[in-house]
């Protein structure tokens, strides 16, 4: 379980420091990653979030078809995760 949250923290920091993940998304993502006791009962959504962070691309929705996850996807999944609070 904790490995999942650690992976989320690592992926978020990597996307924030080395790519184009904005701070307004990185902050709530890190809040989830650093609180496994709070979000541990929503493992499926955290897994989904991790996959989306890893495949995040600011230009995901440009071109002929969507090929990655953009800020709207992350924001929406964060919203579903927080619904359980």
């Amino acid at each position: 379980m904790n490995a999942l949250f650690q992976d989320l923290e690592t992926a978020t920091l990597e996307q924030f420091n080395e790519r184009e993940l904005p701070q307004w998304l990185a902050d709530p993502l890190l809040e989830v990653a650093r609180n496994p006791e709070k979000y541990g009962d929503r493992e499926y959504l955290v897994e989904m979030l991790l996959a989306q962070v890893r495949e995040y691309d600011v230009y995901a929705d440009t071109g002929c078809c969507k090929w990655a996850y953009d800020h709207e996807d992350l924001k929406r999944t964060l919203g579903w995760l927080k619904e359980g609070e």
Binding site: E47, M48, A51, R76, W80
Partner: protein, 377 residues
């Protein structure tokens, strides 16, 4: 209750798979094709998450995964779906092997009826086709090569790496029926030369009624498949119909577990296998299929003098096993797989298939031995 040893027919569902499927049946029931509200958006997110989980097992891209009702439909879509493009290109030759599942052999027969020429490669006594014979059978007009990954009756793994080398310089589409090997033997399916892979959910502790065709892109384009059904644009127009989110989410979870727990599962199966091999060696069983190429969770043996149905009936209170593939075991036709391996009918009629998994509990092998010894003529 007898211990279930028929995991090649179907596997027990993992608890987390069942829980996730129940969630999307009971609570999050939205239609992924209606992403105009949160219900639909969440269902769509779940489907896309599962798509990525399935793709990861074979090192494919998520957009190369087309969900189907199972491996049978995926095989049909791959084989019959390419017919039109093949004919348009003037390529009317198809190659397959003698030990394929009926879900491949029958669509191939349908291609034959449509005017395609079919070459069926034989297999040796070890249960494998010879890649050299494949190389010899290839023609400039070969449109499609269809070879399975792992045989459903014997558990024997086919020479896919060698096949990839042979096909590297040829334009034929290569389809692999991976119903029995997906998630159980990882490397062969990750070979980028394989164009089409048919997979099943319920063989990897997922739900029944869900599978996928993985269609790898060449130069950015999917293989030129035509749908077999019409009536909606789902799955890139190749498989219309409302997506079964509970089954798809469950399949995704099962794929995730198959990848994550791969080594542990294999080790558990190897440990169980050592005991099964010992028991059947003591009983004087004859092995069907080469041990060196058999996956650790399957054993096909013949007990001379003990017809399969008598053994299965006598053992029914102790272990639940089968004699041939689940799809044909009710027909009592002799196994075409064992026949292709050159196993004489009198031995094929005495064949037993035992298949287990990491969830299989301990078996009272002394009781099994005692029952089988009593059946000896």
């Amino acid at each position: 209750m007898a211990v279930y040893l028929d995991c090649n027919a179907t596997t027990p569902v993992e608890p987390s798979v069942a829980a996730l499927a129940a969630r999307f049946l009971e609570k999050d029931f939205g239609n992924p094709a209606s992403p105009i509200h949160d219900h639909g958006l969440f269902a769509r997110a779940a489907v896309e998450h599962a798509r990525a989980q399935v793709a990861k097992v074979v090192a494919a891209r998520p957009d190369e995964v087309i969900f189907t009702s199972g491996a049978t439909e995926a095989n049909n879509l791959a084989l019959l779906g390419l017919a039109e493009a093949a004919r348009r290109e003037g390529r009317c030759h198809v190659i397959t092997t003698a030990v394929e599942h009926k879900a491949v052999l029958e669509p191939c027969e349908e291609l034959q009826r449509l005017g395609f020429e079919l070459t069926v490669l034989p297999v040796a006594a070890d249960g494998r086709f010879d890649p050299k014979q494949l190389a010899a059978a290839l023609r400039p007009d070969t449109a499609l090569v269809s070879t399975m990954q792992v045989n459903n009756e014997t558990g024997v793994s086919q020479p896919l790496a060698e096949t990839a080398e042979i096909l590297s310089g040829h334009g034929a589409w290569w389809h692999v029926d991976a119903a029995q090997g997906f998630g159980k033997e990882l490397a062969p399916l990750q070979n980028p030369r394989i164009d089409l892979i048919a997979v099943s959910g319920h063989k990897i502790h997922g739900p029944k009624g869900i599978g996928a065709l993985v269609a790898r892109k060449r130069d950015g384009f999917l293989p030129p498949l035509r749908p077999l059904m019409f009536g909606g644009g789902q799955e890139q127009g190749l498989r219309p119909g409302t997506l079964p989110t509970p089954l798809i989410a469950g399949f995704g979870e099962a794929a995730k577990l198959a990848l994550r727990d791969h080594e542990q599962r294999r080790e558990a199966c190897r440990t169980f296998r050592a005991e099964v091999l010992r028991v059947f060696a003591d009983l004087g069983a004859r092995r069907n299929g080469d041990e060196r190429h058999t996956l650790p969770h399957v054993l096909n043996v013949s007990l001379p003098g003990i017809p399969s149905d008598r053994a299965i009936h006598a053992l029914k209170g102790t272990i639940a096993l089968s004699s041939t593939s689940a799809c044909t075991s009710h027909t009592r036709t002799p196994s075409h797989v064992l026949a292709a391996m050159g196993i004489p009918p009198e031995l094929a009629e005495c064949s037993l298939r035992l298949s287990w998994c990491h969830l299989t509990p301990a078996v009272d092998w002394n009781r099994v031995t005692e029952i089988l010894r009593r059946l000896r003529p």
